[in-house]
Amino acid sequence: MNNQMIKIAKDYLWTNNAVIVQILGICSTLAVTNNVRNTLIMTLAVVFVTGLSNFTISLLRDWIPKKVRMIVQTLVIASYVIVVDIILKAQLPDVSKALGPYVGLIITNCIIMGRAEAFAQANPPLISFWDGIMTGMGYLFVLIPIAILREMLGFGTFWGIQIMPEGFTPWTIMVMAPSGFFVLAIFIWITKSLSDKRRAK
């Protein structure tokens, strides 16, 4: 069990990372990463939802008829996302206000559906839960650096605190959608070169 867990962790944090290797969940990666605080909340929400929906779907896997497989998966994922949305609205209203509709959009994140289909349908609940958590963490470890860079260059701040010097003119493009594309692309380029180099040794 432990070896499998370590293998899964390594897989999703690096070798088969959902965002930079499998190239999944790109839409939310581009949209919310202009700000570290929003990104952290979003990614934690994704970790939570992926883990729990994987767990739930795995529990139900013997009972779900093939014909309605995707419908049931969507139902489970949507339910957990709505729970996150309700909790944010009630306990962290400022964050909920800042994230707006993007929390609801987690339902459409292909990473979550992808894991449900590829893993939870065929594996026991606890390891599925771990698989979900690790996939989400892989997503978090990609989005946070992107957000740090984009917020630093686009606003001059980190977590809302000014860190760039007074004379710094913010690169507003870093706040806009196009920068999400190219910062992510550069990130993939760097990580792929590193992993190729490592493999060549």
Binding site: P65, I71, L75, A90, P93, M176
Partner: protein
């Protein structure tokens, strides 16, 4: 009972889907019911905060908002229920409108406050919006909001132009900077302000009749 045989039966998918949907919706309504009051509380808190912000009334924390609101909102318009008379920190009574209008992605709700003479804005407070975080969402930021405080209203209302993007602090020109990269949200937000100015002027004219 053979599970595979059951799963391929005609009725099983229907019954299963119905039951599981029922279960999850029940679970969700339970979670919602639990949090409903807190969410409603937060919503009124946002409205009260926005009204205070529109009148540049300072408050230290969320806890102070409710009592400060009760203290300072001294009346409501006799004609409609979304216009308030609010006493600000300088003792002046201003006219505050709670308005909603179309933003780019959804409704923007804001409190907009005017001097009683109708020639200047006192300020604006945003209640809610669905604009893009980091772009249209920047209507909530200090630098943007500050432009409207004490701004003179020209004959055509307030104009939003592509300026430096860091805020037009000239209070006599009736012009504000739009948000760089959020042209549509800026102009739609501006339209909400100008529509409110028209309402304010009509209301003022009616009051003088």
């Amino acid at each position: 009972m053979d599970l595979d045989k059951l799963k391929t039966s005609r009725y099983y998918p229907i019954v299963f889907t119905f039951l599981i949907t029922f279960f999850f919706i029940f679970f969700l309504s339970f979670v919602y019911g639990f949090s409903k009051e807190k969410i409603a509380e937060n919503k009124t808190l946002f409205i009260k905060k926005a009204v205070l912000q529109a009148n540049r009334i300072s408050f230290e924390s969320d806890k102070a908002v409710a009592s400060l609101y009760n203290e300072r909102v001294v009346g409501m318009s006799t004609r409609t229920d979304d216009v308030y008379r609010v006493k600000d920190d300088e003792g002046k009574t201003n006219v505050t409108f709670l308005v909603s209008g179309n933003g780019l992605w959804g409704i923007i709700t804001a409190a907009i406050s005017f001097r009683q003479e109708g020639n200047r804005l006192v300020g604006i407070g945003i209640v809610s919006h669905s604009e893009t975080p980091g772009l249209g969402g920047r209507i909530e930021e200090d630098w943007f909001m500050r432009q409207f405080q004490d701004e003179m209203i020209s004959k055509e209302g307030i104009r939003s132009l592509a300026g430096s993007g860091t805020g037009n602090l000239d209070k006599e020109d009736g012009v504000v900077d739009a948000i760089t990269g959020a042209t549509l949200t800026s102009s739609l937000f501006n339209r909400i302000i100008n529509d409110t100015i028209v309402r304010m002027r009509t209301l003022g004219a009616q009051a003088n009749e």
